[in-house]
Symmetry: C2
Subunit: 401 residues, 2 copies
């Protein structure tokens, strides 16, 4: 597998993005109808564009995606549905397709009608200049950002066992309201591939990639009304079937995008990769890792470079995961540095101990691994998170105004 710079513009895909004021519009287009999978938020309140995308998905003739930032078009009633449909209609008109050939997605403030004129202007401009290039992909990635600090693109080339080379690309946005719990999927992530992905497999393939990436990412524990993940496969690579190399490459792309989202969590200064090992069940491992990633006390301690590991075990304790406190081990890791804070119930990171000093040093890194070994079974899970900082409060105390 080779990392490429194509971003979302795999063979046969074009893209563009326009940003003007607080509104941004991105369009992604395949030259051939794509097999596709769609996952949307499990939040009971689902944004209008997600409902429209679901409807279009049911017709199974998807060529592209039209997305906007600046307004979530969520809790906007019938008018919101009309606005989302308008977006598809206009994109279709500009690109000589049918409205139902598009997925549509929105991100921004909840509960306000969108400025349709601004979005329509963006769609027209973006549609006029669709290209297949890394620049075009970057423009699309930038257009969907809100409070994100950097665009998120990942693309790879991989070889199937049958010999064909395939490409996979993805763009995503994250920042805040990030705790995807996708029954069918979450957040704003668009994945493309030139591989042929059979219709009866594409759903499972996307779900499997999302499970260990976006669904394992927590910025603030708030699950959005607008989470969406889509995979479009246009089949131009000419492969007849798929093997695990494809799933591996897709997982890589999704996981890297998820890590970027955690790293770029609102106000975040640190990426936390929390792994819970040897749990009794996968469910227990996920519960435990999520509780640690979501804990405000853990997150602020990491911000303050404070090796207050008691907060981690407190989070473990209320996570609902079953384990024996006297068996657990706890490690911090960054680069080549590793500290063992607790060894099978024995505290090594007591005051004055060298393991505590080693932990303190690790906490100064920008990417930190927290490893909990429950020694209670064989299942494990990793969750990506970030610290909780002054800037998170600053950003979110004044978002709508």
């Amino acid at each position: 597998m080779i990392i490429t710079k194509k971003g979302i513009c795999c063979q046969g895909f074009k893209a563009n993005g326009i940003k003007k004021g607080k509104y941004g519009v991105a369009i992604i287009l395949s030259e051939a109808a794509a097999n596709c999978a769609l996952m949307i938020t499990s939040n009971r309140i689902k944004a209008a564009p997600l409902l429209v995308s679901q409807e279009h998905f049911s017709r199974r003739e998807i060529f592209g995606i039209v997305a906007n930032s600046g307004n979530a078009n969520a809790y906007t009633g019938r008018k919101g549905i009309e606005d989302a449909k308008k977006m598809c209609k206009l994109a279709a008109k500009e690109l000589d397709l049918k409205p139902e050939n598009f997925f549509v997605a929105s991100t921004g403030v909840i509960g306000r009608r969108m400025d349709v004129t601004a979005v329509e202007e963006g769609i027209k401009k973006a549609a006029k200049n669709l290209k297949s290039s890394s620049e075009a992909s970057l423009k699309a990635a930038k257009a969907i950002l809100t409070t994100d600090r950097f665009p998120k693109l990942v693309s790879v080339r991989a070889r199937l066992k049958s010999g064909e080379e395939i490409e996979i690309g993805g763009i995503a946005k994250g920042a805040g309201m990030i705790a995807p719990q996708l029954k069918h999927a979450t957040l704003m992530c668009f994945l493309t591939t030139n591989a042929y992905v059979p219709k009866d497999k594409i759903k499972d393939i996307l779900e499997s990639a999302v499970e260990q990436s976006f669904n394992a990412t927590i910025v603030d524990g708030d699950t959005s009304t607008n989470d969406i993940a889509a995979l479009l496969a246009n089949g131009l690579a000419g492969n007849e079937d798929l093997d695990e190399n494809f799933q591996g490459a897709l997982n890589y792309v999704a996981r890297e995008l998820a890590k970027m989202i955690a790293k770029d969590g609102e106000g975040a200064t640190k990426l936390l990769e929390i792994t819970v090992q040897n749990a009794r069940s996968r469910k227990d491992a996920v519960k435990a890792a999520r509780a640690i990633a979501r804990s405000n006390l853990v997150k602020t301690a990491f911000f303050g470079c404070d090796p207050n590991w008691g907060r981690i075990i407190a989070a473990l304790g209320y996570s609902g995961a079953k384990f024996n406190p006297e068996k657990l081990s706890l490690f911090f890791e960054a680069g080549n540095n590793k500290a063992c804070l607790i060894d099978r119930g024995k505290v090594l990171a007591y005051q004055g101990a060298k393991e505590l000093k080693a932990a303190e040093k690790i906490l100064k890194a920008r990417e930190i691994k927290v490893i909990v070994d429950l020694h209670s079974g064989r299942e494990s899970a990793t969750v990506f998170g970030c610290d909780l900082t002054h800037d998170y409060v600053k950003i979110n105390a004044t978002y709508t105004s």
Copy 2:
């Protein structure tokens, strides 16, 4: 029911508190053996003093409580159990009782051995000067604080239907790691009464009071290893049985203490009282209210006086509660001001609307009620919470060091 100033010092109860450096010690003592109820955290990791208290509870001869701040004595192994027992032993020696006559509780940093010398010194001093006065009660309330900004005491006098006057008092500490989920109880809250409370009723009575007070309080969503609530009833009032006046008065004391804890949440500037009405089930109402109270996005918006109500409905949406988004109503209330932001699915607080302006004005108050009406059933729940501020991050980025 009359509010009194006795605090924890109901008839027959004495108290004292000593604070020195980061350690504090409080003792509460009844002149007669008390019927009692004990609730401790549901966190899988339970602090040593809780386990010792449970053991002593099983012997049913409780006269008092000895508690310290400055160290949680949690995840401290066998040594921690010994330390907690030492505290009871010393209190017993000073007060001519048996170690098992005491409940013991601790609050502070998790995972470190306590400075037993400092705590022992505190116990000796506190025991020498136990008094029955509001000053003594205040000293005890102050001694158990950590990052709290003010002591928390509430006391009342009420008349039973049978004519006897009874007293109820309580002290509590809160601040951070507050999201009590007491299977049997939570946080550090000590309640006393001179009423006779039959042994077969006292457990239910305490649980009922805790359910709608401490278990309905969320500061940061982290459930502590050290939560404890105890009710000691010495029976000196001479009543032969109880009626709902007692439960009502106890509920009042517990709820007022819980509100103080939310108001004094780490860094908090606002008390939020979140009520979800007309849910299909009590469980749904609790889930919905807790999700709102715990949402970092909701909490930061309140800090910033930002009427970003979309975050509230997003939290409702992922809470797991069942409801129809098109039926919900949302109100903000402070003092005599009330704003209706959503009326049965219709958004009234759109940009420029007078309801949005009214909401903005309400957000400047220090105590704000958020009322969600799901119009889906008849059950309701109230949860107490607070905003998320720069000071929360500041306090918790540097707590152990």
